[in-house]
């Protein structure tokens, strides 16, 4: 007797504006890795004008955009701020990358203007001199294998009392100075790592899926998959710095 299959709904915020670094690959990885375990997945792409019913979402994904595109999104974010905060504070799963990460904070101060953020995280970003660009390897305290990706950001993010997603092993990280990369807070994963992130970090992808399933169904264990190809790509970056 098999029960009804588990279901997950992923909300992809504004991919028309925030899909700078192949972010769609993250949605693909989340969807495929859930489907390979017999979990039903629906991914919804939201446009700026769409209403978002957060209560129907199990994972919210926010990708990166250029400064110009972030400014366009920022107006809309003001209108959904309260509902987004409620979702995140209630343990809703959020994965935010690059520009999406910056938008979760209080603000992003550019040279001539300031982009107001969602204030879901108590972090802020300021534009710095030059960009932090290149491969990154970080070590988290909740996953055994390292997490790898590529960063390309002009903003420097300061996370205050938040815990980082991981410690920088190689690369720039949040601001190139304090050795922290990203933020992990409640069920939120925020990071500068793209590449995209999840295909090359199947362990992190599964962590996000697990959190979403746990919130909905209680304790779950994901069945193992053959991740040889994924970890080969992961190791390639790690070995570059070895």
């Amino acid at each position: 007797m098999s029960g009804t299959p588990m279901r997950l709904t992923i909300g992809h915020l504004y991919p028309e504006l925030l899909n700078l670094y192949g972010d769609r690959g993250n949605i693909t990885a989340l969807s495929r890795r859930a489907a390979w375990r017999g979990i039903d997945v629906t991914a919804i792409e939201y446009r700026l004008s769409d209403e978002i019913d957060f209560s129907a979402l199990d994972i919210v994904f926010v990708g990166g955009g250029s400064d110009r595109e972030q400014l366009l999104v920022c107006k809309r974010l003001g209108e959904i701020k309260a509902r987004f905060q409620e979702y995140a504070d209630g343990g809703g799963v959020v994965a935010a990358i690059c520009g999406g990460y910056q938008l979760l904070g209080r603000y992003y101060k550019l040279k001539n203007e300031t982009v107001e953020g969602l204030s879901v995280l108590d972090v802020f970003t300021e534009s710095g001199e030059g960009r932090l660009i290149g491969d990154v390897v970080i070590q988290t305290d909740f996953l055994e294998q390292p997490v790898v990706g590529f960063e390309n950001h002009g903003g420097r993010t300061y996370i205050g009392s938040h815990a980082p997603l991981g410690k920088v092993v190689s690369g720039g990280g949040n601001n190139g100075t304090d050795g922290a990369e990203g933020v992990r807070y409640k069920n939120i994963i925020a990071t500068y790592l793209h590449g995209p992130l999840f295909p090359k970090n199947p362990h992190l992808c599964d962590y996000v899926l697990t959190k979403a399933l746990e919130k909905k169904y209680g304790a779950v264990t994901l069945s193992p998959l053959n991740d040889d190809a994924e970890f080969a790509a992961n190791r390639f970056i790690v070995n570059r710095f070895a």
Binding site: Y21, G25, T28, G134, N152, G195, A232, F236
Partner: protein
């Protein structure tokens, strides 16, 4: 005296490079600029008529070479950086190569493709009368940061020119927004009808460059190219001076423009834009372009632009540098109804862009459509990432073989009718060498 020395050194280095089998080198030009920093200014000022600069993300080399062929066929002498070395050093190499041993240039025109980021520097040395912009797509992100940065460089370069005419792709809102901000005199080219080739792929720059509103499209071709208008502020696709209509893609490419029918036997929808851009530029020089059909017919696309080898079966070799180019290549591959294998070679050297995240914006999923694809091989420096991409595209039967020669040899061993080899920039010459070597062994 320094000038003549610089020319001699450049010519010697070009010769040495040729002997070593190198192509498109920028080294000779770099040496020339060290010996005589004014060399490019000096040589380019000797061009009798006009200098035409060709910029834009995709199609620069093809457009520039077509333009050169069109102008040469009119009896002009033309300087051209044919192999696509398009930064300051490469442009200098092309001019020094054309000079005689006394540093004299005998040329009516110069057709020079210029890397977008290099335009500011290059235009400090030579002054084009015409500046062509083919399109603006996302390219080599980690080098340029973002597409806005590319546009910023082009704007600064255009500001250096007075009285220049911008020849612009009317179908690209990023290009026309750039043109509108740059001002001056414009000539537009574009495709004037819905050709039915639109596919659901990543669209970029679909937001108005003036008010930020979402653009509305009457029809679109690929990426952000099409007939657009902004409902918010009235920004609209300008009416092209050279417009392709009655487009027929059934056998090669055919279309009407400027009161004539143009037809070629090579494929690739994007070649309509390349031909139109070159044609629009050539017409500015006052040429009537009699014999155009012969020029286009004799033109062979550049190395790695759907270049064909025969190694027991047809092998079609194509260079793509970014999602827009790669998606176009995939359209061509999936339109081919033969049974086929595909080798994808992706490097991440500095010239490729170290960031290969764009492979996730390429619709590899479509290679599974139609059932003609048998085997996919991931290769190149980033073969691991390509393999992951193919896995998540749901394409069964992919293999991961880093070494390019082994990958191609493996794919040649199947009974499929045709092999496609799709590469990015720094894989171009090394893969071509492998293909030539394998073809030679036949």
């Amino acid at each position: 005296m320094r000038k003549i020395l610089a020319v001699w050194v450049t010519k010697a280095l070009i010769l040495l490079g040729k002997l070593a089998g190198k192509k498109g080198s920028s080294t000779p030009g770099a040496a020339a600029l060290k010996i005589y920093p004014d060399i490019l200014r000096d040589l380019s000022s000797q061009v009798r008529c006009d200098i035409i600069a060709v910029c834009g993300t995709n199609g620069k080399t093809t457009t520039n070479n077509l333009l050169c062929a069109m102008l040469s066929a009119q009896g002009n002498k033309v300087v051209c950086n044919r192999v696509g070395a398009n930064m300051l050093e490469g442009v200098t190499t092309a001019f020094a190569d054309s000079a005689d041993l006394f540093g004299r240039i005998d040329a009516d025109y110069a057709c020079i493709e210029v890397d977008e980021i290099s335009t500011v520097k290059v235009f400090g040395h030579l002054t084009p009368r015409y500046m062509v912009i083919t399109n603006l797509f996302r390219d080599q992100l980690d080098r340029y940061g973002e597409i806005d940065i590319t546009v910023d460089y082009l704007s600064r370069a255009a500001a250096r020119l007075t009285d220049a005419v911008l020849i612009l792709n009317a179908d690209d809102p990023l290009v026309t927004a750039f043109g509108k901000k740059a001002g001056g005199k414009h000539v537009y080219f574009g495709i004037g009808e819905d050709t039915g080739i639109a596919r659901g792929e990543t669209k970029e720059g679909r937001f108005c460059g003036f008010c930020g509103g979402e653009l509305a499209y009457d029809y679109y071709h690929y990426s952000q190219l099409g007939s657009y208008r902004c409902p918010g502020c009235g920004f609209v696709r300008p009416r092209p001076d050279f417009e392709a209509v009655n487009v027929d893609l059934t056998d090669g490419i055919a279309f009407d423009t400027d009161g004539r029918r143009i037809s070629v036997d090579y494929r690739g929808f994007y070649n309509i834009y390349n031909i139109l851009a070159a044609y629009a530029a050539a017409r500015q020089t006052g040429a009537d372009l009699g014999g155009l059909q012969r020029v286009l017919g004799e033109y062979r696309p550049q190395i790695g632009r759907m270049e064909t080898f025969v190694i027991g079966k047809p092998v079609i070799f194509n260079l793509s540098k970014n999602p827009a180019g790669f998606n176009q290549a995939i359209s061509t591959v999936s339109d081919d109804k033969r049974t086929k294998d595909i080798v994808v070679v992706i490097n991440d050297n500095a010239q490729d862009g170290r960031d290969i995240s764009w492979i996730w914006d390429v619709d590899f999923e479509r290679l599974g459509e139609g059932g003609g694809t048998r085997l996919l091989v991931a290769s190149g420096i980033r073969h691991n990432d390509v393999a992951v991409r193919l896995k998540y595209a749901g394409l069964d039967g992919f293999e991961d073989i880093g070494d390019v020669k082994s990958a191609i040899t493996r794919a040649l061993a199947t009974p499929s009718e045709v092999l496609y080899v799709l590469v990015n920039y720094t894989a171009l010459f090394s893969t071509q060498r492998v293909l030539k070597e394998l073809e030679g062994k036949q």
